[in-house]
Symmetry: C2
Subunit: 113 residues, 2 copies
DNA sequence: TTAACACTTGAACAAGTATTCAAGTTATAG
DNA sequence: CTATAACTTGAATACTTGTTCAAGTGTTAA
């Protein structure tokens, strides 16, 4: 209860500022996933993913539960989906030139949007 | 036209991940400001602010125009306001504990929200 | 038990970002 | 002209984050 709001906000956005973390949030906003399922979609090392999940966890954006010897993650606020959509709107408006739209056209939207 | 979308998104969020840049966007989403006006609201060195404005400019989030020997900045997409509001919603939901609400209660919302 | 799978952790190093300083530009006022 | 206000730039350094590696925990399956 001591930090000014704009600092908390900045940190919040920094927490989203990593490709793997974005993909995790997008996958999780479809449905809960176990870590090995995330690993199947996101091409990074387990240990690296685990670190990135740690960032999201400490930020309060996702939650962990153990079930059947696997660790499942879920988003902790449904509004996260809205935020990602809002970002998407700005991106298509403002920085559309830099985006690779091929993935979109191939239909693997869910993995790469 | 080469980078995958989730990387562009991550970079986009990283561009928002700095207290001064957040404050700039919030001030600018109220109205255009000259740099010295921003400086009056945001307590950092001119040169530092200029660097941060450069980041926002290169990200395509703000635009520069020179008028009466002053440099005015404006947001380049109105959706930015929506995004900041969406972030606000998640923050109050998910990380409310870490926020300093005093500024809110003092009415300097516009400078620090 | 032991092995294998599914993860997490900490430490070390690499890579990226922020801040400061000194110098430079542009425009207006004296 | 010369000075001053309003900015910007680049380079140096300090700081923060990301990635990898090696080791460790918990759980199920032989």
């Amino acid at each position: 209860m001591k930090r000014p709001l704009y600092e908390v906000k900045a940190e919040f956005f920094r927490n989203l500022g990593h490709p793997a973390r974005i993909r995790v949030l997008e996958l999780l906003s479809q449905r809960d996933h176990a870590v090995h399922e995330l690993l199947a979609e996101i091409p990074i090392e387990p240990s690296n993913l685990s670190h990135q999940l740690g960032v999201l966890r400490r930020a309060g954006l996702v939650q962990q539960t153990r079930r059947d010897g696997q660790v499942y993650y879920s988003v902790s606020a449904p509004e996260i989906r809205d935020l990602l959509l809002a970002a998407r709107a700005i991106l298509s408006d403002v920085v559309s030139d830099q985006i690779d739209l091929r993935s979109e056209l191939r239909g693997d939207w869910l993995a790469s949007s």
